[in-house]
Every structure is written in structure tokens, then in C-alpha cells.
């Protein structure tokens, strides 16, 4: 099975406090720690597990810039056979539909049985996978938390629905699936693994390579645009205990007693 996984490099919310920049038009990006978007990493692991059983190849692709190569290499160190960087100035400022339009052109240049995305990016809207599927006229399923290959033509999948329940579906290939976190246990990638793929070639595709009209992507085509970033008013907000740790513990125990939190 030929599998394409669409990935992104994002600021890692586990490692950073996200703050506004001074102009209020972006987050403060100095000193941010970036990593592979968490759900995308699960998608790559799932692809690797499928080809380990069913055979085939895993390609990881991202739309971005030179800095984004590091996440492609990380996923190649996990075992992806190929990394592809899609970059072009014409792509800057694309909205979700623009990114889906670019990825559609790339998918159509290859021959993929299965296209995976992460369910959502840290700064995204859980939208590119569904748009890509509709642009390609492929079947789509979101929030996928298990995949079983039934034969060369279809999969049995589950979707995560409310209350921890699972919706089971059969889906024809080729299709697009957005992968939910927790579907598997992504393998560890060490520095040694990353060094081993450091010199592998990562081909780059631009707008003309993909036959994407500049007018259909980028800032000019984007119909959804951020005007600014802000931190919403805190509402009531918590009463912050600001003493020493010992004082905070004493205060907290008093509150817990009063509220029935201690037996």
C-alpha cells in the first residue's frame, strides 16, 4: 500500500507558554520550541504499522519552508521512506482551502492508496483532511482511532464519537483519513536515528511543478484571514494562591476541608 501522510511543524504547546507578540498580529515566535504536530506523528506511526503488515511505502509531505525539513527528517528517522517539501512564495498566506488545493495537486502527481492527516494542528481547524478528500472526490473519515486493512480495496476503521464510543465504518480505497491522537504508541526517535537520515535527499516541489495556479492559493485566494491575536478577558478567573509552597498547601487544605474534598 502506498501511503501519503501530510504533516506540519508547529510550536510545541507542551514545551512553550504561548504569548502574543508586541504588535498583536502573531504569537511571540522567538525562542519557541517547535516539533511535529502531535496528531500527525500518530498518523505517521499508523502508516508505518500498516506497511509493516501489508507492504508498501510511506511518504511524508509538508507545505512550508526550509525550517520544516526537520520534521520530515524526524519522520524519516521513524521509518518513512520518503520526505517531500512543498514550498513556494505563492503559497504564503494560504488558508485551509489553499493548503488542501496544494496537497490535492501533489496527491494527483502520485499514486497513493491512502492519504492520512492528523486530526488537527495546534493552530489549525481540523479542516484540511476533509477539504482534501472532497477536492479529490475520495471518501473521508475524521477522528479515526483504529484501522484494519480488509483487502487491497477497503479498510475497516473506527471513529471516535462522544463518550468514548466508537463508530465502526468500512471505507473504500483510495480515501483520506484524519487520525486521532492515541491510536497507537509512536516509536521513539533518538538523535542517532536523525543523524542516519541527515544526508538523505528531500525533493522540493513548487507551484509550477504541481501545476497549481497562483491565483487559487496563497494570501490572494484566502477567504479566511486572521486580523489579530488577543488574550480573552479572564472572566472571573481563579483566586490565585501566591504564598510559599508551604503556605499554599496549608490554605488549600483549609479550602478542601470546607468544600468536602477531604474524607
Amino acid at each position: 500500500m502506498e501511503i501519503l501522510v501530510c504533516v506540519r511543524r508547529v510550536p510545541d504547546t507542551a514545551e512553550n507558554e504561548i504569548e502574543l507578540n508586541r504588535a498583536g498580529n502573531d504569537i511571540e515566535r522567538d525562542d519557541l520550541v517547535y516539533s511535529i504536530n502531535e496528531a500527525d506523528n500518530y498518523a505517521v506511526e499508523e502508516a508505518l504499522q500498516i506497511v509493516a503488515k501489508a507492504g508498501g511505502n510511506v511518504t511524508v509531505v509538508t507545505v512550508g519552508g526550509d525550517d520544516d525539513e526537520e520534521v520530515l527528517r524526524r519522520e524519516m528517522a521513524m521509518g518513512a521512506n520518503q520526505g517531500v517539501l512543498i514550498k513556494d512564495e505563492a503559497f504564503n498566506g494560504s488558508d485551509g482551502k489553499g493548503i488542501a488545493t496544494i496537497l490535492k495537486a501533489f496527491v494527483q502527481k502520485g499514486k497513493y492508496d491512502l492519504v492520512l492527516t492528523g486530526v488537527q494542528a495546534e493552530d489549525g481547524g481540523a479542516q484540511v483532511g476533509g477539504m482534501l478528500a472532497s477536492l479529490l472526490d475520495y471518501p473521508f473519515a475524521s477522528l479515526v482511532n483504529s484501522i484494519e486493512v480488509l483487502d487491497g480495496k477497503k479498510l475497516k476503521i473506527s471513529r471516535e464519537i462522544a463518550g468514548g464510543n466508537k463508530e465502526m465504518n468500512e471505507i473504500d480505497l483510495p480515501c483520506v483519513l484524519s487520525i486521532q491522537t492515541g491510536i497507537n504508541e509512536p516509536r521513539y526517535v533518538g538523535m542517532r536515528g536523525i543523524r542516519q537520515v541527515a544526508s538523505l535527499d528531500i525533493p522540493t516541489f513548487g507551484a509550477s511543478d504541481l501545476g497549481v495556479a497562483a491565483s487559487s492559493v496563497g494570501d490572494a485566494a484566502a477567504k479566511v484571514k486572521r486580523s489579530d491575536y488577543f488574550v480573552p478577558a479572564m472572566g472571573k478567573g481563579a483566586e490565585m494562591l501566591q504564598g510559599s509552597r508551604e503556605e499554599n498547601i496549608e490554605n488549600l487544605i483549609g479550602l478542601l476541608k470546607a468544600k468536602g474534598g477531604l474524607k
Binding site: E19, G125, E170, G182, G235, A238, M240, L241, I253, G261
Partner: protein
């Protein structure tokens, strides 16, 4: 202006709570708006829902088709793309169904998609001004959407408070014939209900709940020791289950359990809306997190900025000394 439609989720003949939230959202787009409900399904359940909706919607479009008896997002998308005028504003709840339906629907209607909207500031000519959140709610953005060719707007459940309004005395319009035959490359098989765990966290009065901040599996014992000292039970947020440190049955949130404790200790939990959606009954919330910007501090009653791996063991020791 373009017509506003509200996609109504329903189950067992009863409309989802979001049906009333979508009316409130439509009024934020235009105070004079009278949104039209659009409902897909089959049989007596569908008829019951349509009838009930005439109390709050002036017009209810019914799309009956046996293939829509279960709400398969793939089939619903095809039906809506055929029936709805493509320059409409279509409001959809941003839940496990809306995530499936919405993005692709905007492509099929050749309109704009905006995801997980938490507030609507109104229309500015051809632009809809909305608010979204990013990075787990740590920052928000004002977003301008060109809706001149229509839009699919996915709305966060719970973000729009239902309005008190007089009965609409609406009518049901049968649009079934316009949807035509519906087939998809994705076929619904069955629903597998979540397995019950060793404890039912939904019935516990006191929960010590841990998030990503617990760091690694071995540290779960720190929370368990505190819970034992307090006479409480350990629950968690999604990342802890994703990492397989605790069972799914311990997860609080929209994709886990709904809990209604008296006291909720949120330890190393950032406080995403999906997590908070599982927290009902107005508990006394204590938040302990080393990130002072964590959204959990906005909803907690008491907050402490500290490292839970150091704070919790000391708290446990003091409680044991009581």
C-alpha cells in the same frame, strides 16, 4: 443577505442541545435573521424532530432518505450539497459529526469554511467576523471570512447561549426528492460502546485529575497517593490516555466521561474545552499548573502556579498528618 441554515443533529427523535445554540449564533450574525433548520434522517424519529423544531424555527427543511437513518457524514454532505442554495451560510456544531461534515461540505458548495468558532462579532459587508482559539485556548484570534459565495461555519458546542424566544409556529418543508439517491464509499457498520472501567469516575464526589504535566507513567503513583490520602479517585485528561498511562474509562471530557464531582483537582491539566466539556455540576475546581497562562486558571476557583511533581507529594504528606 444570504439565507442562514442550521444543521440539526438528533437522536431517538430528539434534537441535540446545539439546535437552540445555532439559533442564538444566527442572531449574532444578524439580529433580524430567521434561520432555517435543515434535518436529515428517516422515519418516525425524523418526523418527531422536525415537528419539535417548528417551536423554535420558522421553517424546517426535512430530508428523508433511508440511507440517512444513521448520520453518516459522507451521505449527509452529499444531500446538503444538493438541497441547500450554495450561497447560504450553513451553521454546523463543531463536534465529532461536524468535523466530519463541514470542511468537505464547503468544498462541495464552493463556499468558505471556518472552523470551531467560539464567538461571532457580526457581518461587515461581505465579511463575517468571528473569534477562534488556537494552541489549546492559550490565545484567541479575530478572523475575517469572505462569505460572499456562502460559508459553512462550524460552531463550538456550548459557546452560544440559547435565547428565550416566543414560539415560532414554523412549518416543515419536505425537500427529500431534491436529495436524490445517496451512496458513499464509506459505510456505517455499528457503534461500539465504551467499556466500563474498574471505577466509575462519573459517580465520584472528589477527583484528583492529572494531565500532560504528570510527565511519565511512573508519576501517576504520585496522584494515586494523594487520592488515597484524600479519599478520592484519580481521573485524567486526554494526553494521559493517549500515552496509555491510564485507561480510557478514567478520561474526563467530550470524548471520555462526563463527571459531576463536588471537588475537582486539576493537576497539570491545561484546560482545553474538550476537557472542560466533561465537567458538569459546577464543582469546586482547584488548578495546579506550572504554566501561569494555562486556560484552566480561567475556570478554576483556586489556582496555584507550581510543579505538580513537587507540590502533590508535599500536599499528600500534609494531608496524611491531619
Amino acid at each position: 443577505m444570504a439565507r442562514i441554515f442550521a444543521y440539526i443533529e438528533h437522536k431517538g427523535g430528539v434534537a441535540d442541545d446545539s439546535a437552540a445554540e445555532l439559533v442564538a449564533a444566527a442572531k449574532k450574525i444578524d439580529p433580524a435573521a430567521s434561520p432555517t433548520a435543515v434535518v436529515t434522517g428517516w422515519g418516525a424519529d425524523l418526523d418527531a424532530v422536525c415537528k419539535s423544531l417548528t417551536a423554535s424555527y420558522a421553517e424546517v427543511w426535512k430530508i428523508a432518505n433511508e440511507a440517512l437513518a444513521y448520520p453518516n457524514g459522507e451521505l449527509v454532505r452529499k444531500a446538503l450539497a444538493k438541497v441547500l442554495p450554495h450561497d447560504s451560510l450553513v451553521l454546523v456544531p463543531h463536534d465529532h459529526f461536524g468535523v466530519d461534515l463541514g470542511p468537505g461540505l464547503s468544498i462541495k458548495m464552493d463556499s468558505t469554511f471556518v472552523s470551531d468558532v467560539v464567538a461571532i462579532d457580526g457581518l461587515d459587508g461581505a465579511f463575517l467576523k468571528v473569534v477562534r482559539q488556537e494552541y489549546g485556548g492559550q490565545v484567541s484570534t479575530h478572523v475575517r471570512c469572505d462569505v460572499s459565495s456562502g460559508a459553512v461555519v462550524n460552531l463550538r458546542p456550548g459557546a452560544f447561549k440559547p435565547l428565550e424566544s416566543p414560539p415560532a409556529n414554523g412549518k416543515v418543508v419536505d425537500k427529500s426528492s431534491e436529495a436524490g439517491a445517496l451512496t458513499s464509499g464509506r459505510r456505517y457498520l455499528t457503534t461500539v460502546v465504551a467499556e466500563a472501567g474498574d471505577v466509575d469516575i462519573s459517580k465520584q464526589p472528589v477527583l484528583v485529575s492529572i494531565g500532560r504535566g504528570i510527565g511519565e507513567k511512573d508519576n501517576v503513583a504520585i496522584a494515586q497517593e494523594l487520592a488515597d490520602a484524600m479519599g478520592a479517585v484519580v481521573s485524567c485528561s486526554r494526553p494521559v490516555v493517549d500515552a496509555k498511562w491510564l485507561e480510557k474509562s478514567r478520561q474526563v471530557g467530550s470524548s471520555g466521561q462526563t463527571v459531576k464531582p463536588k471537588v475537582y483537582m486539576a493537576c497539570g491539566i491545561s484546560g482545553s474545552f474538550q476537557h472542560l466539556a466533561g465537567l458538569k455540576g459546577n464543582p469546586f475546581i482547584v488548578a495546579i499548573n506550572k504554566n501561569p497562562k494555562a486556560p484552566i486558571f480561567q475556570v478554576a476557583d483556586v489556582g496555584i502556579v507550581d510543579d505538580i511533581l513537587e507540590f502533590l507529594p508535599e500536599l499528600t504528606t500534609k494531608i496524611r498528618e491531619l
